[in-house]
Structures are given as C-alpha cells and as structure tokens.
Symmetry: C2
Subunit: 128 residues, 2 copies
DNA sequence: ACTATCTATAACGTTAACGTAATGGTTAGG
DNA sequence: CCTAACCATTACGTTAACGTTATAGATAGT
C-alpha cells in the first residue's frame, strides 16, 4: 500500500519547496517518478525517504553532486553499508579541509591576540 | 620614492591575475589608483600591500564583501588595531559556524561507525 | 616600420542551488 | 459552471569571484 502523494504534500512533509523537489527530480536524485495521464507526478514513500536522506547529507555539507554519487547506494542496498562507506570517504575529505581551515584560523587568531596585547603594552608604557 | 608599477608586475608580485586586480580595484578594495594620460593605471607599494592583506584575509575565509568592510581600517590606522578587532569579530562568527558543522559532522561519523560495527556483528553471527 | 607584448574597457560565461515569474492545464467545492 | 487552489513546463534571475573573449590603443625591441 504505497500511499501516493502529489508534489505539494511531499514537499511539505520534507520541509522543502516544490521547486526544490523538481530540481532534485530533474537531477535524478529521486529515482523514477511516475507521471499520470493528467500530467501530475505521483510520489511515493520512497521519494520522501530520499528527500529526507538528501537533507541529512546536505546538513553534513555534501553538495548535490556528491549526494548524487551516493544516493543510489542507499536505495539499492538493504544494508546501506556501501552508501555509508562512501559518505564516510567524502566526509573524511571535508574533515581534512575543515581541520586545515580551523588550524590556520586559530593560528591567525592567536597572532592577532598577540599583536593586540603587544600594542596594548606599548600604550601602557607611554602613558605613565 | 614610491616605485610605481603597471598591472602586470603588480599582479605577478601579488600572485593573482590582472583580472583579479581589476575586479578588486573596481570594488574599491585598492583605494585610489591614479590613471595616466595614456590610459594605464600606476600602482604603488600600497596597492601591493593591500593585495597581500586581501590574500591573507581570503585564506582565513573572509568574503570580499567582508574584506571590503575592514580593509580600509588597515590603511587608515597606524596601529591597525581596529581592523584586527573587526576581523576578530568576523572570524569569531566563522569559528562558531565551523564548530557547529564540525560537531554534527563528527557526530554523524560516530553514528555511521556504530552502524557499520553493528552490521558487521550481524554478519559475524550468521556465519559460524 | 613592424611585430610581439602589455594595457584598458565592455560584456558575456561559469558554478551551485534553487527563486521567481509567465503561461496554461487540472481538480475540488459550492 | 465558476473560481480558488494545485500542478506542469519553460526560462530567466540570483550570488560570488572571477574567467574568457573581443576589440582596440600603447610600448618596446629590432
């Protein structure tokens, strides 16, 4: 009993706009969507699951392109273990980049704090 | 004795393309640039200093818009302390966002590792 | 004088992830 | 039957930070 739904309900349930659904659909992120004779698309529970998964992966910083490369693994495998492994690989790269930025960021922060302290010291010395 | 230079030398010394220089210049990031009667722009040591500062701030993740809001502080104040303070504020926001992403990222990583371990366990149990 | 190289300006192209019309068919309720 | 509300398709708009022509004048070296 797959409860079919139109794009309005689907997008509301997924917390996105219809435009976003159509965008993902056009990119092929939602798999095959059947279209009735009236022109309407009917989405299934699977569509909703995909949207939710996409949102999850987006929150993790994956681009739609990266998501496209892994989303099918989530819905072809029962264990979803391949999908998880590939996501892990992508996240690993993101993590490395993040760590690098974080490092230079904190380092710069220290430099600035040091400079400010030094300048403050000079000010103190000049005003008795 | 300000050694003037053309855009070619300037961009080479700053490690950017002429197009980038013109882009920054048009945004007003380089201050006033004098233009001679032949149509050429002559850049000074100050221009180079600004480009280097811009590159530094970019590496820290500031957008050109954010840089625009602080770059003048670096070249109007001798201590440059106001500029540093404002950069610190901006970096603080970036740091918070980065920390949030980092948190959900590591959390998700743990979830996945946990799931993978659980699945592996199930596999082990089924094959004696 | 001629050619290679440099410079200026204007303007369109690019990437990502949709937003925003514009136009027109569909359906449900009164 | 009529209108409100929903749906589809097409296509241009948006942000950031330049890249990439295209056109044309300026300069240096031989």
């Amino acid at each position: 009993m797959e409860q079919k739904m139109l794009i309005g309900e689907l997008s509301r349930r997924a917390g996105v706009t219809p435009r976003t659904v159509r965008h993902y659909q056009q990119m092929g992120l939602l798999g095959n969507i059947e279209q009735e004779s009236n022109g309407y698309h009917y989405y299934t529970h699977n569509s909703l699951q995909r949207l939710i998964k996409i949102n999850t992966l987006k929150k993790l910083g994956l681009s739609l392109e990266e998501i496209e490369s892994v989303i099918h693994l989530y819905f072809e495998e029962p264990t979803m273990i391949k999908g998880k492994q590939k996501v892990l690989e992508i996240l690993q790269k993101h993590l490395e980049e993040t760590d690098e930025k974080l490092e230079s960021l904190t380092q710069f922060k220290q430099e600035i704090l040091f400079n400010m302290a030094r300048i403050q010291l000079m000010i103190d010395e000049m005003s008795p």
